[in-house]
């Protein structure tokens, strides 16, 4: 580990990707993630890598298709409207079993919406990253430092499971500076016998493809992929529990809103209210078990999101309605305050006490 320096989230992600062996980045400008491209544009030529500003988000994700098929670590980045445009390409990456990393530094929607932080693409990322039966790995770090560690893991897991991994951040995490240090990791490139990089007359030709005209073949492909998904759901969930051992009220929040929730939980504890926080780090796979465990002593659960309540459904599904699940949310770029979360915690605890 090196010195801790102050760095913007977006720039830290870019630096982490380069250190994780990514030498192919394809972007298209959009607020609040333009710094990723700007950083890549500066650094890639220095490390012999490729930064390319594509003509559109669609072109960018398809350049990722090509680069990923060729076997290199490839990445693209955008924000909400741009991610919608990438959904066809993401579905192809899934269908072709190609690894890559995609950033969604979310902003308020729908439509052009706004440019302030939001978490309203949760459903899209976790349930419908494209058409068809499909999933991608979704990571939701909460600090600039965690963004860095996630990026390393995401490249690894994407290759291990041959699927795209998305970092679901938001404008707050992308724009803020925090201290960060970069791990000194030696990247050992994964063997990719499937890569379409020219067979040099030494093997059968490789094909990256998602077309299967025979329904039973396509079904077979999908079932194989869902077996992989099941394995991932069993082994790759990540979450952080904070003060959950004896909590009366459990807050569930991820990414930027988990930071606010954490402040509120700390204040609540200081004021004698037994609050706890479960912070999913992977959103897909959703950390069901971790959540169930964290909620064991809780009489009430409060989900805090910067959306109209998208993760709530996953919390309900995980807890199977075994306890009341409340929701506090803001949308459109409004960031909740620790005070209002605290208030809500008190109301819930009060109500529960009645």
């Amino acid at each position: 580990m090196a010195e801790r320096i102050l760095m913007k989230g977006n720039e830290a992600i870019a630096e982490a990707a380069i250190r994780a062996g990514c030498r192919h980045f394809f972007g298209y400008p959009i607020t609040p993630q333009t710094e990723v491209s700007a950083y890549m544009a500066k650094r890639m030529p220095k490390v012999g890598g490729c930064f390319l500003q594509a003509e559109s988000e669609i072109a960018a994700i398809n350049m990722v298709v090509g680069a990923a098929a060729a076997g290199v670590r490839a990445m693209t980045s955008s924000s909400s409207p741009g991610i919608s445009l990438k959904t066809e390409g993401i579905s192809y990456l899934i269908g072709c079993d190609l690894p890559c990393v995609i950033l969604n530094i979310q902003r308020g929607g729908p439509g052009l919406g706004g440019i302030q932080p939001s978490q309203a693409d949760y459903n899209q990322a976790t349930k419908a990253p494209g058409h068809g039966d499909a999933h991608i790995l979704v990571f939701a770090p909460a600090t600039v430092q965690e963004m860095v560690t996630c990026i390393f893991d995401m490249f690894d897991l994407a290759e291990k499971y041959r699927m795209p991994a998305m970092l679901l951040g938001d404008g707050l995490l992308g724009q803020m500076m925090e201290p960060v240090e970069f791990p000194d990791i030696q990247i050992t490139p994964t063997e990719k016998p499937w890569a379409t990089c020219g067979h040099q007359n030494k093997r059968k030709h490789n094909i990256a493809n998602s077309l299967y005209l025979q329904p039973d073949q396509l079904e077979q492909k999908n079932r194989e992929r869902f077996q992989r998904y099941a394995q991932i759901q069993a082994t790759e969930t990540r979450a952080e529990s904070f003060e959950t051992e004896d909590c009366d009220v459990l807050v569930v929040a991820y990414g930027a809103s988990s930071r606010i929730a954490r402040s509120a939980v700390m204040t609540a504890r200081a004021q004698g209210l037994k609050a706890g926080l479960l912070r999913p780090i992977t959103l897909w796979p959703f950390p069901k078990e971790e959540l169930r465990k964290a909620a064991q002593t809780a009489k009430n659960v409060l989900v805090v999101e910067m959306s109209m309540g998208q993760m709530v459904e996953d919390v309900k599904l995980a807890l199977e309605f075994s306890k009341p699940i409340h929701f506090l949310g803001h949308t459109g770029g409004v960031v909740p305050t620790p005070a209002e979360v605290l208030n809500q915690l008190k109301t819930i605890a009060g109500g529960a006490a009645q």
Partner: protein, 250 residues
Amino acid sequence: MTTVYEKSKMLTDMPLSYCPGCTHGIIHKLVAESIEELGVEGRTVGVAPVGCSVMAYNFFSCDMVQAPHGRAPAVATGLARALPNNVIFTYQGDGDLAAIGTAETVHAAARGENIVIIFVNNAIYGMTGGQMAPTTLPGQVTQTSPYGRDVKTAGYPVRICEMLATLDGTAYAERVAVNSIPNIRKAKKAIKKAFENQIAHRGFSIVEVLSTCPTNWGLTPVEALKWLEDNMIPYYPLGVYKDVTAKEGK
């Protein structure tokens, strides 16, 4: 006995999925023969489009990627950037390249991306059953221009080579046809030249090949060749629209 002509080794044993007499097959051969003759099969990666040639990945014996509809130039760009010393080509239809893929085509050309595009212009959407393409001729009847393409509402055909020739990044753009033996020979030359350009890192080369779709034109394969000659060639003049090597005096 000496062999005068046989199937290229750059083609697999898989029978082609094209309709009888569809000239997609001829163009496949020309691509395969060019790559084989240049001896670069082992470092070639092709990109198949969405269109009748969607399964080109089964037919060419080099590594292949199947791209989303229209995005082959972007996929090829990703490949070319990751594999700068390989030979990268796309094989695309007119719906794929000139409609949904317009932006990807124009910008791969503008960037001077070091790739070859084989553009199969058959004036129709073959695979989906014969809808109007951007290249469908005025008055031509298709499933979605049942009264003949009316330029007043459906607009005018796009001439891709002419359009791309206006871009500084385009190294080579030529239009050929495969309706007759002499034209096939010229087409072969153009395609091979495009690959030579790429091997020499000259940048973006496109060969537009006028091709038939007997099935959706409602003609026999032989009639289709004639229709191509009588109707398409006058609208899409054959020839070289850009060639940087001409300037270089090669």
